[in-house]
Amino acid sequence: MAGLTLRDVRKAYGTVAVIHGVDLAIADGEFIVFVGPSGCGKSTLLRIIAGLEDVTGGEIAIDGHDVTRVPASDRGLAMVFQSYALYPHMTVYQNMAFALENMGLARAEIDARVRRAAGMLRLSDYLERKPKALSGGQRQRVAIGRAIVRDPKIFLLDEPLSNLDAELRVATRKELAALHAEIGGTMIYVTHDQVEAMTMADRIVVLRGGRIEQVGTPLDLYNRPDNLFVAGFIGSPRMNLLPVQVVSPGLVRVGEAGEPIKVATGPLATGASATLGVRPEHITLADGAADLTTTIDIVEQLGGDTYFYASAPGLPQITVRQNGQALRGRGETLPVRFEPAHLHLFDAEGAAVRPGV
């Protein structure tokens, strides 16, 4: 178990910079998730930590020891690859034992470790099979088992669930979380799926274009997104982002004709353009005075919840989430109110505007 520190880590392929200076400190035993859209550099960052890619600049330290120039095989980390990278010519047992043999462990010790991991991962019956003869989920567990047996300082996982079908993905997600609780290692987990990030992480690192956008606990990111990107990325369905104009300090107007809405505008000047963010669950149906009057385009009845997709002139489509079964049809008008305690305001650059800043 170990902590990890990245200091101004940079990476370029030739002249193309892919990671633009990442600083990050990860504590011992943490479950960290790197999340971001495809191509943002998550895998690259993970592989830099693993030692599979050289850095162009910066420093990586494990437990305070600089390992920037240490080759992958000597860093003592384990990685679960997106493709699993199981050795196709070896049995499940051999796959898991391979690293231990390389470490020069005694046969009995290897056997004990492999069998313990196999038991933990419900693989005991498959030890003599080759990867080809396993289902997708079993292969995935072998890949994890191969990491576990090593008792590594840090587990690195690159989109380990992306090759599973939806149902299995949810199940495995829970198992992984349970596993982390059981063995308690430091884990760095890469995914582009924000639901995975929200459900598993102690802390989430949101990446975009090779830069860290925000680091925090899932609820931190959900409740207090630092910028428009994080606001839009975290949460499902997405946060509604509406163009507004500051009409006076503490008051903005949605679109052209909407009612003024109270929200902390911080240092924004009167007349400035901004973006108002409000999550679908923080919009209520108004009986009396509405903040905005919309027309329903689509209704989705999920039984427990109802989603309205509604539009108002000059605004992007708005998602409204209602608990229970709200019986309204297409084309009806839908007057809504925004919950004042859960409004987010972003300036023209996309940075969050916070009261008192």
């Binding site: 599979l52 095989s73 493709s83 690293a99």
Partner: protein, 349 residues
């Protein structure tokens, strides 16, 4: 695909195009022309020296039948004789005096006949003279040649597989300084056939003190550019994740090569092994130049030397030629498909 189905479809259309008939005719001729000579070789290799010299030759290995007749210590040759009264009988010949042969009826040894040789036709039966095979292996050095060929083929193929796969591994998995130069070296050797460096390679072998040793045959061709390219091409298709996973598993570079990449490259290694076996087993010019002592001859050189002798003993030569054909025939029967695909994919031979 499904040629039979298509054939039937065509027939339902009612007519064959003349090109179809021409094609089958061409293929039929091909079978005779391609298979015929080798069949002829195999059949001939079982004939006696005498019947090899016969003209016109008989198709099958025949030899004259002999019978034991009571009262005669030696077995006697059997002939079909036409007697004076026009009767045809099978008689054994006791002796021949001028144009008259003295014959005896094997069923009734007391009755003897005198028959003009012109009315005798030898009774022959199918017989395979296996001594054509056993004698040269005992009397001449062919066992030695055979062993030399097997040794050269085996060792050379093992070395080829090892060092070519190492180079291919380096050139496919790593990025390193000098990679371009190394690739150019490999391509360069592709363009320099042994025929034009025969003399200086001989010098190198002399300097190494290997003239007339089998290592002189094994070493010069052990590193083959075609082999490196074939293996490299295949290794490039292996998922990079596997190699990185092994690196994360604390495998040394040698272990990655030996325990991950080599087993996974087995199909390509098999192709190279087959080719190498063929090359080595059939190799001629270089062994001819570097092996001058009969003890170190390979089978091919031995055959050539044997046929160059003044009195070529064709019965032995043909039989030994067949022996040298055996491994090739086995390879052909079992692996023809893979070799064909290998050639079609790589254009090498």
């Amino acid at each position: 695909m499904k040629p039979i189905q298509l054939l039937r479809a065509r027939r339902r259309n009612g007519h064959w195009h003349w090109t179809d008939i021409a094609a089958y005719a061409y293929l039929g001729l091909g079978v005779v022309l391609m298979f015929g000579p080798v069949m002829w070789l195999v059949l001939s290799s079982f004939k006696t020296q005498a019947s090899l010299l016969e003209f016109p030759p008989s198709l099958l290995p025949l030899s004259q039948q002999e019978v034991r007749v009571e009262g005669f210590p030696q077995p006697l040759p059997l002939f079909a004789a036409t007697l004076d009264n026009g009767e045809r009988r099978e008689l054994a010949q006791i002796r021949r005096i001028g144009l008259i042969a003295q014959m005896v009826d094997p069923a009734d040894p007391k009755r003897q006949y005198r028959v003009p040789t012109a009315r005798l036709a030898p009774v022959r039966h199918l017989s395979f003279v296996t001594s054509n095979y056993t004698e040269p292996l005992q009397k001449f050095a062919f066992t030695r040649y055979l062993w030399n060929s097997v040794f050269v083929t085996t060792i050379a193929t093992l070395i080829t597989l090892l060092i070519n796969s190492m180079a291919a591994y380096a050139l496919s998995i790593y990025e390193f300084r000098g990679k371009t130069i190394a690739m150019l070296m490999v391509i360069g050797t592709l363009m320099i056939p042994i025929t034009i460096i025969l003399v200086p390679v001989y010098l190198v072998i002399t300097k190494l003190g290997l003239v007339n040793s089998l290592w002189a045959v094994i070493l010069p061709g052990a590193a083959t550019p075609t082999g490196v390219f074939l293996l490299r091409q295949y290794m490039l298709t292996l998922p990079r994740d596997l190699i990185e996973a092994a690196r994360m598993d604390k495998a040394s570079e040698w272990q990655i090569y030996w325990r991950i990449v080599m087993p996974l490259a087995a199909p390509a290694l098999a192709v190279l092994a087959i080719f190498s076996i063929m090359w080595r087993w059939n190799e001629f010019l270089w062994p001819l130049a570097v092996l001058t002592r009969s003890e170190s001859f390979t089978l091919q050189i031995g055959l050539n030397a044997f046929q160059g002798e003044l009195q070529t003993q064709w019965n032995y030569l043909l039989a030994m030629t067949v022996v040298s054909l055996v491994p090739v025939a086995l390879v052909f029967v079992f692996l023809q498909r893979f070799i064909a695909t290998g050639i079609a994919n790589t254009g090498m031979k």
